[in-house]
Symmetry: C2
């Protein structure tokens, strides 16, 4: 069990749900566009947003963004400790720094002191692309180098009575990322922010993130996640949601189980599934629902029985199951309407 920290009103660690983060891609100085993007992201499911503090001209806009944002806002700081201090003063719900590039130890101490006073958590974020030179060569693997780099910083934070910490260790290499998190997970009890970084465009980025974040969540590692894509951040939230859905980690979610059609399938299953998915996505669910739509009698009845509502097609008929019991036999033409109707009733 990891320690609990709070980014604004969002708990991370302990028994809190795994939260979804993203980062704005607008200019921070353009307050209205940034707030619009934050609202869009929140509506899609984003629970914490990070905003880059590029330079001093970002500071006043950031203050206004924090004030009006519907979700907690984290300031992303690189290089300049002044920006970290000012972001905290301007109301940041959290800050993210790579302590290795923030300047002197004295400057870091100032940040820790102010963050402690204001109860603002700090993410220590080390990326494989910005690892300090001293850790680069003397250790066997890059994952271990990243972990050693972070643990050094953790110790410095602790020596300065700062424990309001979250950690990330991102590499663009999936295997390195997973290894690094697996090592750090055993070394300390600070909550972990998961992500694979610089994953590329939508498709390959979604796959890399799913493997990296997914295999860690599978082993119970990770407290908050951010999918990084070279894409509209809305898509980051969509991928993040799918990853959490694969583990049943989202409330009020719809899960559709459907088979990869084969020669046995006599109905047009792909279009049936897409249509049902489209219609169901418009319904606001108040609980988790599992729907199975299966093309033949091999695995069909088994999966259909295991779902809340399921249908298995044979050559001429659709067999509808509800909570494991076959409740009706219908013509495949009527399957879509009937399924949606039954699910709405649930």
């Amino acid at each position: 069990m990891k320690r609990e920290i709070f980014v604004g009103n969002v708990g991370i660690g302990g028994n809190y749900n795994i939260s979804i983060q993203s980062m704005t891609s607008t200019k921070t100085e353009d307050v209205q566009s940034t707030l619009n993007q934050i609202i869009d992201l929140q509506e899609e499911g984003c629970e914490i947003i990070r905003v880059a503090i590029t330079d001093r001209s970002s500071l006043n806009p950031f203050k206004q963004i924090v004030k009006e944002s519907p979700i907690p806002v984290i300031a992303d700081i690189q290089f300049d400790s002044y920006l970290a201090l000012k972001s905290i003063e301007n109301g940041a719900n959290g800050i993210r720094i790579n302590p290795g590039n923030i300047g002197s130890k004295e400057k870091l101490k100032e940040i820790l002191k102010l963050a402690n006073q204001k109860k603002v958590p700090i993410r220590i974020g080390v990326n494989s692309g910005s690892i300090e030179t001293k850790y680069k060569n003397h250790i066997s693997s890059k994952s271990e180098a990243m972990v050693e780099s972070v643990m050094d910083k953790v110790k410095f934070f602790e020596d300065n009575d700062f424990f309001n910490i979250k950690i990330s260790l991102k590499s663009s290499n999936v295997k390195e990322t997973v290894q690094a998190y697996r090592i750090i997970d055993k070394k300390c009890d600070y909550p972990l922010h998961l992500g694979v970084t610089e994953t590329g465009t939508f498709f390959s980025g979604a796959i890399k993130s799913a493997i990296g974040i997914g295999s860690l969540l599978l082993d119970g590692i990770g407290n908050t996640i951010r999918v990084s894509l070279t894409e509209d951040p809305i898509k980051e939230i969509q991928v993040a949601k799918e990853i959490l859905k694969a583990f049943g980690l989202r409330k009020n979610e719809l899960e559709i189980i459907s088979c990869p059609t084969c020669s046995r399938t006599t109905v047009n299953l792909i279009s049936i599934v897409k249509e049902v998915e489209k219609r169901l996505n418009k319904i606001k669910l108040n609980k988790k629902i599992k729907v199975a739509i299966m093309g033949c009698e091999v695995n069909g009845p088994g999966e259909a029985k295991a779902a809340d509502i399921g249908i298995a097609f044979s050559k001429k008929r659709g067999y509808i199951f509800k909570k494991g019991e076959m409740i009706e036999i219908i013509n495949p033409d009527k399957a879509i309407n009937r399924l949606v109707e039954l699910i709405e009733k649930l």
Copy 2:
């Protein structure tokens, strides 16, 4: 290390590369459409194809498909042992059965005898949706039930001198699937065919498959993979390729590392990356190439240095790196052409 088996000329297990499989969705009786689909799939990267033997009318078409297919063909058999025997006689390079639903032990023995004579490997494939009743209730988890069900069959095969085995244990639940493969991986040395089943439509299916297959490959488990999607099987191959790419498991592959733009990015990185990706996808590579395209000076130079060719943009310039050395500074407008040019030279 797993035993080696051969599906046609494709080695599975041992030190062989992880191969990509798919399944035709055409009617098996429609030989020409099925062969066309197989050729399309092969061109996309499919290395082994499976074809459903629906009933006796599939048998002659299957014979012709095997004869003309450019890749090995596996017959997918359910329920009817006669279809298994005839498929082997008709040249199948492998057969897939769920021994629990193939009928009596005597019938299974006949299949094993003929497959041994013809050196045809058999995949024992158990799905959570078609697990036998006797294993359903007396064991703690579904994963263990699937493993116990398979191991029983393995013993029967071995008792009948049959060792040309491949195993799969697919569930529509990602966690169950991974657990089942982790358990069986320790219990025997037969090569494993990985897949999550009934994953739904493209997006959620790709994510579920990436998590399930990816987290197993990450731990060195798995010898051949099939991504199941309720979609055109071409997309199954695309997802499979991306999963293998994330581990550097494809030859002649292009890997693009790019950052998730933020307020610091001053160039239109999303369109630059998409354009570079599009142009590079047209080039036939003769080796692996890693390209980094980064939007700012924070992680940019680090990632760009680690790539074969990399570019990191600052506010007004692009810094091009080749094998870790900065080789030129260019105007961002010229970045796409120059990058593609340099990569073509590699």
